[in-house]
Each structure stands twice: as structure tokens, then as C-alpha cells.
Amino acid sequence: MRKISVGIGQIITRLGDIQGNRERILKFIEEGKKKNVDVIVFPELSTLGFGSGDIYLDKVNENLQLVEELVEISNDLKPYLIVGFVDRDERGFFYNAAAIIGKGKILGVHRKVQLVNYRLFDEKRYFAPGSSVNVFDTPWGKTGILICEDVWFPEPARILAFRGAEIIFVLSASPFDRGKPEVWEAFLKSRIYDNILPMVMVNQAGIQDGVTYWGGSMVFDAAGNLTHKAELLNQQFLVAEINLDLSRVLRRRDIRLRETRMEILEELLKAYREMQK
């Protein structure tokens, strides 16, 4: 059985507290080394922190330096790292992004495609959206990364499934409000029932300006069973072993993914264009 050992780095992060975030990331990298995991996953924007405020704009350089430092550290590290950070392109646009880092290199970067601008969220004030959803080749197989709101839409996970992802990591910084953890569980399960692959959601913990990031990171197998759940509210390092073969076993008889029809996808695009008019 092919499996992967995932270290869930449910850390407390705070917006602008790059030193504090760095210390908590490094501490959990040590944990991951001790537990001999294959990959350690941190939450959305774990370097710069998530929240609402113009501080995003002020500390992008420091955040990029921390990413460089993590790339350096990964030279002598068995576990790969998946870290949320603020990316910047040559035009000076910022992106809410996540990098997969290993053996002294950045294997790939995903830029959040579905920015959130409703309720307390204000991401479009700061970030440009990503426009592609790719899988990355890793020692354990093709891997997809999504960021938070990306998984509240069916398309990004679907694209990853079409592109052969064997596992999807979802980095999030989800603010608590009543019933939110249950809603998240439902969304993740929906994506898994659609696509039949395992998913790991790593959520931020901690509180800032009265907004609580509820933690409660979740691991699901390809059948949609919730196999691991981290504590609510608290910082925690959790190890999960995930079976990477189950998806293939299930897809022998559950053939819905390959039954997706071109005509219907085209119809979907047509309907969307009509809606836009």
C-alpha cells in the first residue's frame, strides 16, 4: 500500500507577527523531523499571518525572506514543507499563495484563485487572484494545493482531479462563527465525493482583534471518511497516515470522474457566459 505520513502544522499565526510566526513554524518543523513525516503542512499565509489590515502591504519583503530561509532549511530536511505566504510578481502584484518546498527548492506555487471579499473579508484590497490550478510532482505522487475559499467552489478541486492529483492539501485561515466547522466539513466532503481523492485541510489557530481562527484541521480518506481531526482553537501538531491507493480502488467501480462529459462541460461554460451577460 502506498501511503504518506503528513504532519499537520496547526500553528497560531498573527497578522504582521513574522518573528512569532517564524518561531512557531520552526518549532513544528522540528516536530516533523522527530516524527519522520513526509510532508509538513502549514496554514494559509502562515508567514505573514492572515487577518484584515494594510499590514499585508508593509511586510511582504520580510515574508519573502522567511520563505527563502525555509527553502534553505529544506536542504537538510526529509519532510517537504507546504507553506502559505504572500507571493509577488514582477509587476508588483501580491498573491495569497502557497509554496511546496523540498530539498532546497520550490517545487511549485499555487496562487489562490477564489479571493474572498464578503462579510469580514477584504482580500481583493490586497491580492490579485491566481489563474491556474496545477498539480506538482513529489516523491509520493501528484499533489494539489488549494487555499481556503478555493475549496468552497467545485471547479478548482475538479481541475486537480482531472490533472491526476492523488491528494489535495487545503491551507486555510478560517475565522470562527457559529456552525463554521460543520460547514467546512460539509464542503470538504462534497469535494471528496465528487473527486474521490484524499484531502487534508490545515487551519490556523489563534485569535487577533476578536477574530478566532478555529483550528480543527481535518483529514479525510478518498471515501470521504473523516479520519483525523485536530483540536479546536489550540495549536497542535498532528500526524496522519494517508492511504494513497484507496482512490484507485474506489475509482475502479465509481467511474464518475471519467464519465464527466465534454458536452456538459461546454454547456456549463455556455450557461456561465449567459449568466455574465
Partner: protein
């Protein structure tokens, strides 16, 4: 669907979140602790207990009765709370300070209703001064005790009891405050008694507002959480449109109590509009 009532696991989670939020502010600004004005009513009792849970010995409850006006039962309840939960406290009657304000007004003006209300509002402001005196002297924050129902209705004194650094229970409706208070072990007699702002003798909130808190919470929940219009809420709740309109008017009129003072914008970096930074800023 009206879903105000919290389940047991939600109450426990809310308790932890509130405790964490108090601690987060204290830790961030390296304050020594917090001060809570404790009337013996349900809101301040709950906040005092949760602040004790968050800060231990570093919370200070200030019991500030207006002797002869604040019911003795309230002061006794406040004392009961600090004893039961072992909360450091001080008792400071405010009569002397109130008398000074009354002395500077000519007798005949005092009969006017507006003056009566304005002077009634002096009392929470005196308590505010005593709160902040302790905060400044001892490097503490002032922990506010308002709840979502009060804050939506504007049922609080601006720069008086509403003056605070954090509002840990202001996203809870009054009836949810009752639930959480019971959950953390506040004695039933305090949870069940008639709420009063204590501005004059014999005042009760429900009489002044014209509805029970159960009714008010249902109306507010329907307008705010379910986002129904007054007409829709009236049909949904089977209540008169005027009653709902009356509540909604209070909500609209009191927006200023939920905001910092409006700045006239002249630059591209207006501090309440363009400039956005967290208070817990790193």
C-alpha cells in the same frame, strides 16, 4: 429559522473563545490585567467571571453602587459573585460624585425630562472615570460588559458603560448571555432576576423598552441574522409591524454608538476610512 438558543457544546466553545480573546489583548499590549465594572447584573457578572478565568488574580472588579438608588440586592449579588469566584474587588459608592453634578444645576431645570435623562447618564460616566482611573494607574484594560441586544438597540451610555477597550460578550444576544451565565455557574437568582440599567430607582429594562428580552431578541435575530425586512419579520413572527418598526428604528438611530467618531475626509489616507490596521498590531 430562529436559532438563538445555544447548545451545550457551543456554550463551552464560546466560553473558551471569549476567555482567549481577553487574554490575547492583555498579552499583546503587555498589560497587567483588566478592570470590570460589576453591577451585580447578569452581563457584568458573566464578564467578571470569564475575565477571572482568563486573567486569574489580575482582574479587578469594581462595585460602584449609588447608595439609595442601586437596589441592595444588586450590590449583594455583586458581592456574591466576587466571593463565589474569588475575584479581587473594590467597593466604591459614587453618591458624592453624583451630588456634585446635581449641585451645579439650578433646581427648576432638573424637572425637565431631558435633563433628568442627561443626568442619569452621568452615573455610568462617573463609573467610566473610576474604571479608567484604575486602568491608567495599574496598567489595566477596561473590559466592557455590553451584549449584542443592548448594542443593537443603543441601550447603553456612550462614553459611560459603553466605554471600554474590548467587548467580549457583545456578539451574544441577551438570552444567550443568560444561557452562558448559567453554564459558567452564576447563581440562578442572578440569572433570573429582572435586568435593570439602574439609572433611576425601580427602573427595569423590559418596561423601558416595552418588550421582554425574549421578544426583543427574536425581533433582532430576524432583522439582523436572518436579514428580513420589517414587513417580512412581522409576518414571520406574527407580530405587529409597528412593534418591529420601533425596534428597527432604535437600531438605525444608534449606529453612532457602535462607531468611532466620524472623521471628515480630506486626504487619501483618512484614518477611519482608508487606513486599516489591526488594534493588536505586530
Amino acid at each position: 429559522m430562529i436559532n438563538i438558543k445555544l447548545k451545550n457544546d457551543e456554550l463551552e466553545l464560546y466560553r473558551k473563545i471569549i476567555v482567549n480573546s481577553i487574554r490575547a489583548r492583555i498579552d499583546k499590549i503587555h498589560a497587567r490585567g483588566g478592570v470590570v465594572a460589576l453591577s451585580g447584573g447578569i452581563d457584568s457578572s458573566l464578564v467578571a467571571v470569564l475575565a477571572k478565568e482568563a486573567l486569574g488574580e489580575n482582574v479587578l472588579a469594581l462595585i460602584m453602587p449609588e447608595e439609595g438608588v442601586s437596589p441592595d440586592s444588586d450590590t449583594n449579588h455583586a458581592i456574591k459573585i466576587v466571593k463565589k469566584f474569588d475575584i479581587p474587588h473594590k467597593i466604591i459608592p459614587i453618591n458624592g460624585a453624583i451630588d456634585w453634578f446635581f449641585d451645579i444645576f439650578p433646581e427648576k431645570e432638573l424637572s425637565k425630562r431631558e435633563v433628568k435623562l442627561a443626568l442619569a447618564n452621568v452615573k455610568p460616566k462617573i463609573r467610566m472615570i473610576i474604571n479608567y482611573l484604575h486602568a491608567n494607574l495599574e496598567n489595566r484594560i477596561v473590559i466592557g460588559t455590553t451584549n449584542k441586544t443592548e448594542l443593537l438597540l443603543g441601550y447603553g451610555t456612550k462614553y459611560g458603560d459603553l466605554a471600554a477597550d474590548i467587548y467580549p460578550i457583545a456578539d451574544l444576544y441577551k438570552t444567550q448571555v443568560w444561557q452562558l451565565a448559567e453554564h459558567v455557574g452564576i447563581p440562578t437568582e442572578i440569572v433570573r432576576k429582572k435586568p435593570t440599567a439602574g439609572l433611576w430607582k425601580g427602573q427595569t429594562d423590559e418596561e423601558e423598552l416595552g418588550h421582554t428580552y425574549q421578544e426583543i431578541d427574536k425581533i433582532l435575530y430576524t432583522l439582523v441574522e436572518l436579514e428580513f425586512s420589517v414587513k417580512e419579520a412581522s409576518e414571520y413572527l406574527g407580530m405587529k409591524e409597528e412593534a418591529i418598526e420601533d425596534i428597527f428604528r432604535r437600531v438605525k438611530m444608534s449606529e453612532h454608538k457602535r462607531k468611532t467618531p466620524t472623521i471628515t475626509r480630506l486626504s487619501r489616507m483618512c484614518l477611519d476610512k482608508d487606513w486599516r490596521y489591526p488594534v493588536e498590531r505586530y
